[in-house]
Subunit: 329 residues, 2 copies
DNA sequence: CGGAAGTCTGAAACCGATTGCAGAACTCTG
DNA sequence: CAGAGTTCTGCAATCGGTTTCAGACTTCCG
């Protein structure tokens, strides 16, 4: 059995209230009493019961994290970041995976919302009004998506796309293809838009191949369209798709990067292991997790006092083996 | 503000005790009263406060899950399984990632153990006595490791290795290399042992290349040893290493599977995306997660009444592109 | 019809912390 | 030295449920 505050109090010869104060508002108690209490607590291995504390303070000490699919390599990194930062602040992380299922997501949210002080939500495709409704009742931070002025952490896709386009332009490419992810995904829309702007500014031609599932298979499916479109370079919605492209392009007898250059987005582990290795717009996923927790905790501290609730993380083009000079024939 | 049990009681015209009973021990209350209570609860959107309940019952409704490194693709699948099964039983999952750091692990365990009813622990390399000590104070289930008679979920490595060896033998291989993972890892030891037995039984020669970090880089590092050893086939501790092997072998000018056959273990997503695709001993990782939760909840229900606390999950060789007939020159 | 057994319900204690309030002890100040 | 002001501590209420216990009311049976 774990020690209770009463036992510590008895052991230290004070009242429970004093123990409570000595531990959570140390400057309210006399230094020598405090010392005595702390020693007693130490000796008994006392740790406050979270349920009891939560009951009166109304806080759980937990944050919830909801991701659409852990099997997508983007998310484990995010989770790691959230996890690490949360622990530093002595919060525990309740993790839930919705399996890309909106109904499951709604359920999860209902259940989870009661067990946590705040939520970090990755819901690229959930309905906006659902999210707004949720935000009205819970403190939440969105990741990889913006909904109005709600707190969020996103990546600077615009700059990422600019870098990618500049890189291709420098290599002599004039026509670039886009292999899109889910039409309904916020970041997909954000990236297309950014890419349109960037290519237009660079005087390059953009050919959109359409929308595909954001997986390896999606890239495979898109490859033939890309070849047919005659572009010399292509940017994919994410690395997984870019890797699928690579695979199918090779099977079609094309040489990357001699015949065609390929750029992904995310910088997942795998992109450094493919051959050729994948040039990609690197996202600091773990940073995003940490930033989300940061923001969430700040909001919990002072619901209105946070200046900047919409954070944008930098992106960085990572040039590897899948991009090269455009063929000139 | 959420409704409390008292408000429901008032609304239904009964006492709080009756509400409590109507919800958690329905057959103790008169059907018509029960109906009235349930309707009131429904109307007010009542959901019991977990902290309050936990305070008196001593249960949190949480299970803890500790993994060494989410970035290793083995674990997200496991987490998914744990997650899904836990939710079915109305438990929440507290996730922690130790970053392969034993000190962090100890800390985490201390903190987490108090917030959960039971723990699922993947600690391939933690000290046995630490684990035993923990098991004495907490209900826990180990995954991918056996420690004495403690509850655990592991894979049938012996059979997996038998299948792999039989496959290679059928392809005419006589000499097989082993690229080991961390020496201190339980499953590494289990697999080597199984492989020794299997190759001996098949009359094949086994060459152990040593121990390497269980990552892509480990496989790269091992490749040259493998080539020098002159084996025609090689089995790696896990897929990530096998993929590293593939990469380096290719760079050394070897053709897989013509010059050498490669087999991994795990069946991670990536192994279907490499070229050649990777033949591997497939582990049902999500199943393992579910099984661990199953076992844990059973133990929580009736600490002594569980017949079989050491579960072993089947393994299945998945033949893909990286294995072929042995060269005969 | 009386009493035993059974069925429901409510009052109250309790889980383990936090916190408002009040009083004790001490320090200052004029 | 009286009185005001500080500083520190303890009492008791409280959070929102669960559970023990006892009592009210039925039902059943001899």
């Amino acid at each position: 059995m774990r020690a209770t505050i009463r036992e510590v109090a008895r052991d230290a010869g004070v009242s429970p209230s004093t123990v409570s104060r000595a531990l959570s508002m140390p400057d309210l108690v006399n230094p020598v009493t405090r010392e005595r209490v702390l020693r007693a607590a130490q000796r008994l291995g006392y740790e406050p019961n979270r349920a009891a504390r939560g009951l009166i303070t109304g806080r759980t000490g937990n944050v919830g994290l909801i991701v659409p699919d852990l099997a997508n390599p983007f998310f484990p990194s995010l989770v790691k970041g959230v996890q690490a930062k949360a622990r530093e602040a002595d919060y525990a992380v309740l993790l839930a995976d919705t399996d890309e299922d909106p109904a499951a997501e709604r359920d999860l949210l209902r259940v989870l919302a009661k067990q946590v002080d705040g939520l970090i939500l990755c819901s690229p495709r959930g309905r906006e009004e659902d999210i707004r409704a949720l935000a009205a009742t819970t403190t939440l931070v969105m990741v990889n998506r913006r909904v109005g002025k709600l707190p969020s952490v996103v990546f600077d896709n615009a700059d990422g796309m600019r870098q990618a386009v500049a890189h291709l332009q420098a290599l002599g490419h004039r026509r670039v293809g886009w292999v899109g992810g889910p039409r309904s995904s916020w970041s997909n829309r954000d990236r297309v838009r950014a890419l349109q702007t960037a290519t237009a500014a660079a005087g390059m031609e953009l050919l959109v191949a359409g929308n595909f599932p954001p997986q390896f298979e999606g890239g495979i499916a898109a490859a033939d369209l890309v070849i047919a479109s005659g572009v010399t370079s292509v940017i994919a919605y994410n690395d997984l798709m870019a890797l699928g492209l690579l695979d199918r392009l090779r099977n079609r007898g094309m040489d990357v990067p001699r015949d065609i250059s390929v750029i992904g987005i995310d910088d997942i582990q795998m992109s450094a292991m493919s051959s050729p290795t994948l040039t990609t717009v690197s996202l600091t996923k773990e940073q995003a997790g940490r930033a989300a927790v940061d923001l969430l905790l700040a909001l919990l501290e002072q619901p209105d006092g946070v200046r900047n609730v919409r954070r944008e993380l930098p992106t960085q083009l990572l040039v590897r083996g899948s991009t090269g000079v455009a063929r000139t024939d």
